[in-house]
């Protein structure tokens, strides 16, 4: 199947270097300390942050810093088929872990000893790039909650189909099984906190694709500001 036409247009009419439309909103989840909704094209994600608050499980308490917990879930209605997803399935656990590590790297945890910060992310509409949207939404929610951070974290994905690096894959492009690189960066410090890839890529092409994803992240950072 042709993912990039002769004129250089993708399936949804974008150019290879073009990102989907972004929309970010600070919403008001009643009991949460901070919450936000982030949309990348048709992918829509809501994040809620609780904390810092008292650690619920005393055995996991860390003496001199805050504990960060993260939970990723997809709503039943988020994909094409209405499917009931079990809470602890492997993909959710992996993505929860990934988001947790990314956010932990940028939160100044030593300012809040012996406390706990909970990040709950739920996908309302899934159309590829949910991981990146979750990280962006979590960043906004943390900023909304007033939790001190080194820098905002932005994330974007990129792939390589039909010999063209493509930015911000949607579901159709993602499900082909081609390479999918997800990058999370701290824009001001210019540091990479998350780098994940599926499938295989030649190293030089990988560099290009990663560079492209980093550009995408910077664009998101500008938008968020």
């Amino acid at each position: 199947m042709e993912y990039v036409s002769h004129d250089g247009l993708r399936i949804d009419g974008r150019r290879p270097m073009e990102m989907r439309q972004l929309c970010a909103q600070i919403v008001d989840v009643a009991k949460a300390d901070g919450s936000a909704v982030f949309e990348m094209g048709k992918t829509k994600v809501i994040a809620a942050v609780y904390g810092p608050r008292e650690v619920q499980n005393k055995s996991q308490q860390i003496r001199d810093q805050a504990m960060v917990r993260c939970e990723y879930s997809m709503a039943n209605f988020s994909t094409g088929d209405r499917m009931r997803r079990p809470k602890g399935d492997r993909r959710s656990t992996e993505i929860s872990l990934v988001i947790r590590q990314t956010m932990e790297a940028c939160i100044l945890t030593h300012l809040m000893p012996q406390s706990q910060i909970d990040i709950f992310v739920q996908v309302l509409q899934a159309d590829g790039g949910t991981r990146s949207a979750c990280i962006n939404a979590a960043t906004l929610a943390l900023a909304d909650a007033g939790i001190p951070m080194h820098d905002i974290v932005t994330s974007c994905s990129a792939g390589y189909l039909n010999s063209t690096p493509l930015l911000d894959l949607n579901y159709t492009e993602d499900s082909t099984g081609g390479p999918d690189v997800t990058v999370g960066i701290l824009p001001k410090l210019d540091e990479v906190t998350l780098l994940q890839m599926d499938a295989k890529l030649l190293v030089d092409i990988f560099e290009n694709v990663m560079q492209l994803a980093i550009e995408g992240c910077k664009a998101i950072a500008n938008y968020i500001r």
Binding site: D28, M112, P113, A143, I147, P148
Partner: protein, 322 residues
Amino acid sequence: MRGLQLPLTQTQRVRLQRALEKLESLSAKANSDASVIIADSIPVNYEDAFLKGHGTTDLNGELVATVCGVVERVNKLVYVRSLRAKYKPEVGDIVIGRVVEVAPKRWRLEINFSQDAILMLSSMNMPDGIQRRRTALDELNMRTVFEENDVVCAEVRNFQNDGSLQLQARSQKYGKLEKGQLLTIDPYLVKRSKQHFHHLEKYGIDLILGRNGFIWIGEHVEARDSMIKDQVINSEQATSLQGQEQEQSYTPLETRQNICRIANAIRVLSTLGFRVDAEVIMETVSLSISLNIDIHEMLGSEFHVLVAEREAERRSLSKRKR
């Protein structure tokens, strides 16, 4: 003002906008362009010596913000005041908390902070009022003083080494709070003032503004001494007059209505982001009574707009007086 989730008609929206603009123009706007977001560098003259306060950090020799907020400068101290953070306790603050746990020789209270606060048994006055050492029997009877989910008023005593808070409730005015409503608002709306306990005689109501954003509105209780209360209850039970007991725990309808009215006034003020202190609350309540607004209508959009306009007027008047 966080996401005013009210259905406003077009005229109401315009009026609200105008009132808010007026307020903004009146306030001292020396640092109107000093709002920063995370990782923005803070404009500082690096040759002068300055102190880095909350919300800032050093990045490659540059001063950078770690929270979204407004830059404040006090003499040499530069810090970023965040709008939505948790309560930042100071020694001597009056706070209101809810008991979450009864632990050996202490109670754990939830205040709006990153950790629960601790109220030691020895920092509490005993029910019989005598100053004595706490015995093992006292420890076993801790539950008769405070149980889980009780609302308690106390004062911040000090910070522990690990950052947790210790409270004390040694005076008559602290202790368990009953017959009223607890309200949660953002902590930054309650500023330090001389008086945090207000007795509103007109309505017969006690108002306690906790600096952690918890506000207590309750029926006025004459003696906070639980000894007297216990005595009264004992005598009541001794005579076993059911009617009398019921009357004692019954709050008159008018007082309850006043409690609700004041609570709604505080809710409106916190939604609009105005500072909450006794004067403003009283004015808002009298405004609502004078306009004959129903208690539940106070949470409607019309009243919000009225309060905003009234506040704008008030501030412009006080500015002109100066």
